[in-house]
Symmetry: C2
Subunit: 179 residues, 2 copies
DNA sequence: AACTGTTTTGCACCTTGTTGCATAATCGCT
DNA sequence: AGCGATTATGCAACAAGGTGCAAAACAGTT
């Protein structure tokens, strides 16, 4: 139940059309909440029907024609409430950990290549995040609360990727010696 | 597409009935792949129809009566292949990071309590994992590959929870000073 | 004006996960 | 034998996410 809130956040940052939203989800927002254009259009429809957003009056209701949305007061209230809402963290659900466990039962043949592939992917992502941090958050210059919050989110991404690279490295060295 | 493989792994470790599987998912397996009894029964049906598992002959096909399953050769082969299969890591999708971003737009009122609650939950989980590690993996005594793999999985859980407690602590101190 | 490609929106369908409830066997108690 | 709690399996309906494809508008080209 987070997609609508992701969309509300994005629209508050800047009113957009469905396609623009899709592109923004592919970039920055997608770093912690991914979504396809299908999900986005569907959700935009729901949010509009719920009176939380509306299409900017300029747009006619025909297909294939750009339609920009903005957030209505009800939508902003909903988002504000959601920020403070009590919601338990979901239990971890990671296929890679599961595969290690499976490897314990049927043998780890071929797993090493896959771990190396993941390691490379995570290292690449980590480098990308660090580049963003160097560009957008140079040391000793965060003033607004929004800046600090955005930086915290990015730090989350960086530390998560750091965790994966470290863990995968450990796994690879732990896997090689014995057979 | 990981649930069937989680079930195959569990059944290879020990043939079980649906309810027993559910209990094992609530405990150890659920630490990295959670599932409800509904999902499990549905998937057991599918796996049986696919010829990857079968009910132990002792059981009659009536409702409400225990039915134990074991893995067939086809199931073991499928699991072996899956361990080495190339499958990209899913992009991160975390509501809490999203909420920080939203807080940057509508203000972080009430967020602190929620972060503290999550911090406490993650600390508790971390302590639990560390207890398991101390009990099951005392230093300098891992011989079999299965032991080493299981330990790696547990280390993954421990380091993930460590990440969360650290990040949440940072977030809380970063949130308090300014408005 | 007809064509081709791109932008933009959207429908239909499928899989996975969740919730609530129904039903059958079993066990202990009296 | 009858009652109630527990064990065990399962159906139905729904919500969320994902894939493939269709279709309308638009823009440029000839």
């Amino acid at each position: 139940m987070s997609l609508p809130h992701a969309i509300l956040t994005a629209l508050l940052e800047k009113p957009s059309s469905g396609l623009e939203l899709t592109r923004r989800f592919d970039k920055s927002i997608g770093y912690f909440w991914s979504a396809t254009h299908q999900q986005i259009y569907r959700e935009l429809g729901k949010l509009e029907r719920a009176g939380q957003i509306r299409a900017l009056p300029s747009a006619q209701p025909t297909r294939g024609q750009k339609k920009e949305y903005e957030v209505l007061p009800a939508g902003r209230e909903e988002l504000t409430a959601w920020v403070a809402r009590s919601e338990d963290p979901k239990p971890v659900r990671d296929p890679l950990l599961l595969r290690l466990r499976a490897a314990g039962v049927v043998g780890s043949a071929g797993l090493e290549v896959e771990l190396e592939r993941h390691l490379a992917l995570h290292q690449r992502q980590l480098a990308q995040y660090e580049a963003i941090e160097a560009r957008d958050f140079p040391p000793e210059r965060q003033s607004t609360e929004q800046d600090r919050l955005r930086h915290l989110v990015l730090r989350g991404g960086i530390e998560l990727e750091t965790f994966w690279t470290k863990w995968l490295t450990d796994a690879l060295t732990g896997l090689r010696p014995g057979t």
